[in-house]
Symmetry: C2
Subunit: 401 residues, 2 copies
């Protein structure tokens, strides 16, 4: 982020920033005008509660119930089960504090969201990489890993599976519903041996940024799943990243513990931001904005993949994204992409920045860390910059190859 912000000549395809021109300036202005008018207007500038604004939790519960096509009366989606945070990042951090002790183990996609890896490391939590397939988690890899942990006596340290389930950061992969349901069953079957619950942390940050208009039910929607699924998501990326509001739906006793830690962090999420989101959702502006955003990102993703087709050598491969903000690029295995690689230096020389793929793999000595991939983002760069950035990157790749 810092590199991208501080070097104006550099085209950053690295940061997960969102698209500047589509940020909801007019919408936010209109919302705030109505928010700061009238009798009760001052309450939006006052503290809220630690768990979050009640209307926002209610609206969030309604939306999630609808997206999951569940019964409106389902207790699993009750507003009281929601916690509002400063972005879903803060919730992921708090979950780490609440669920794990140093030395505990988390199963995690190979590759996964690199900031999450940083959180894990900073708390001394170990990761075990689970392989991925085009439709998500590789269940065989999941079973094998669980079995290995059971045999080595380490299952008692396993607390959760962390899954970026929709248009994953960094690969763009969505894990299909059947696999999520199967994964939950597999995890449950190891709980007795583990001696405690094994949670599925479903990070749905990119769920609403789908280009293809197709949604997958969350893991919450399966029978008897709600006591093991921790669902986290955000309004920041779909609405405005400068307005940091995320949320989670948590089972007990995780909810109570997380709410207490949230209280210690900051008493609760900035109330003014929550009020803006509440109004955006209840007044329909959020929905309108999301639709605009999907089209925008779809067209930027296309611009990126078209440029890749044009400027990348044939041996470089990728999947066209169906949502999210990222393109995951595979180079021939002999071409290293890491921070110290020739390619990374050459890319900087050409004034373009990417996220090296190896940063997205947890430390897991049962497999080597792949070092021939890169994460590109079409989020913040303009179409012109995407085209120019990919041209530069293509040039860098060709020089190194």
């Amino acid at each position: 982020m810092r590199e991208g912000l501080e070097h104006p000549g550099l085209i950053s395809l690295a940061a997960g920033f969102t698209d500047n021109p589509t940020l909801p300036v007019t919408e936010t202005r209109t919302i705030i005008e109505s928010l700061l008018k009238g009798k009760s207007s001052s309450s939006s500038l006052q503290y809220g509660t630690t768990y979050g604004d009640d209307p926002l939790r209610k609206l969030t519960a309604q939306r999630l119930t609808q997206m999951d096509k569940c019964s409106k009366q389902s207790k699993d989606y009750h507003p009281d089960r929601f916690l509002i945070t400063h972005g879903s990042q803060q919730l992921l951090y708090i979950l780490n504090e609440v669920l794990f002790d140093p030395g505990d183990i988390v199963l995690i996609e190979d590759p996964s969201y690199f900031v999450y890896l940083g959180i894990m490391q900073s708390h001394g939590v170990r990761g075990k990489g689970i392989q991925m397939e085009p439709d998500g988690l590789d269940l065989l890899s999941l079973e094998t890993t669980l079995n290995t942990l059971k045999k080595s006596g380490e299952l008692a340290r396993l607390k959760a599976l962390y899954l970026v389930s929709y248009h994953s950061n960094p690969t763009g992969v969505t894990t299909c519903a059947a696999k999520k349901e199967a994964a939950l069953k597999i995890l449950k079957s190891y709980e007795k041996a583990a001696g405690h619950p094994i949670y599925l942390i479903e990070d749905a940050a990119y769920r609403e940024l789908s280009f293809i208009g197709k949604d997958t039910p969350s893991a919450l929607s399966f029978n008897n799943a709600s006591d093991r699924v921790i669902y986290t998501s955000t309004y920041s990326k779909p609405f405005a990243t400068g307005i940091r509001v995320g949320y989670g739906l948590l089972p007990e006793p995780v909810l109570t513990a997380a709410t207490r830690v949230k209280g210690n962090h900051d008493f609760g999420t900035a109330n003014f931001l929550q009020q803006i989101l509440s109004k955006a959702i209840s007044g329909g502006k959020y929905k309108e904005h999301i639709q605009k955003l999907r089209k925008r990102y779809a067209s930027k993703a296309r611009a990126m993949t078209r440029a890749c087709e044009k400027h990348f050598p044939e041996k470089v491969k990728w999947e066209n994204p169906e949502g999210g903000l990222y393109l995951w690029v595979n180079l021939p295995k002999k071409i290293k992409t890491g921070l110290k690689s020739k390619l990374f230096k050459q890319a900087l020389k050409q004034q373009v920045l990417y996220v090296p793929g190896n940063l997205c793999y947890c430390d897991d000595d049962t497999r080597p860390k792949p070092n021939h991939q890169m994460r590109l983002s079409f989020g913040s760069a303009s179409v012109k910059d995407i085209e120019e950035g990919i041209t530069r990157l293509g040039r860098a790749i060709k020089r190194v190859m």
Copy 2:
């Protein structure tokens, strides 16, 4: 907070909420109108950096330099040394993560800010209470405690002194400059024996809420102090609690470590809130607002102490506050004020809520925890409610006495 928000019949003199009618509704509306107008307006809705908005850090550095009457060129107040957080609470939390290991010791006022005690406890950090005098920290008590720690071999676990230095929460006491300077020297003289730096965490949350128009220089202003003073403060209480923006000035290596942890928490404080504060300060609205607020709180504090004079029995004592949000009330020692006391129950029956004084003392088995005091806040209640609340509380006290 929850009690106060959820029982409308109850008058809460407990929560540290701020005054609703003086919240800067019009000011905020005007600021946002100008913020969301024009070409670069979308950037305020985009992510910022982890350490915080550069103009806001610069403005904060300027203000602090002025308040401390220091040279404009002083490196000690350089904007790069500042970190912006979601309220100063978040910074206090992060400092706890960065500075302390479980079992470490923090010196802390007796009594002190109870949420800070909660943060300490949740990280397994132990407190040692330092006695207080009307002009702040009791230096003899500080020396004695340090000596005791040295003798018992525990000095190696001592990492910091936490001091709410201006119009303290909960007592309203301000520690005078001479005492802060002396405390720093005393701490430094024990560093060799401790084997590491001992920091002074100066929590200046209430500095700008002075009624008497007199300021005290911060501990940063003393010679050679800037490598040992961690200064934390906030814009939330002086401006709007719904807009959660706090800040700190940190020496290395604490700054780098804290910024990294902040990145893991949430990447950085909601940029939109920082932009609002930047504009409020640079356009003069913040200063105007503070002046209004000081008058308002001064008059509410007077309303509270006048009501106390009228309705409290003679044996109940307090100091008239010169700033902040709180009145610290001493009852005769035999009258208990804790959550399980007759008085607390009687107060609830009379529909009035206070913070029991014993919650504000750290667990320190070298002294008994006083249990005959209470913290009252004149922050959020209206003058009418303050008068009625004190009437009720007086009735409750009389019944119990």
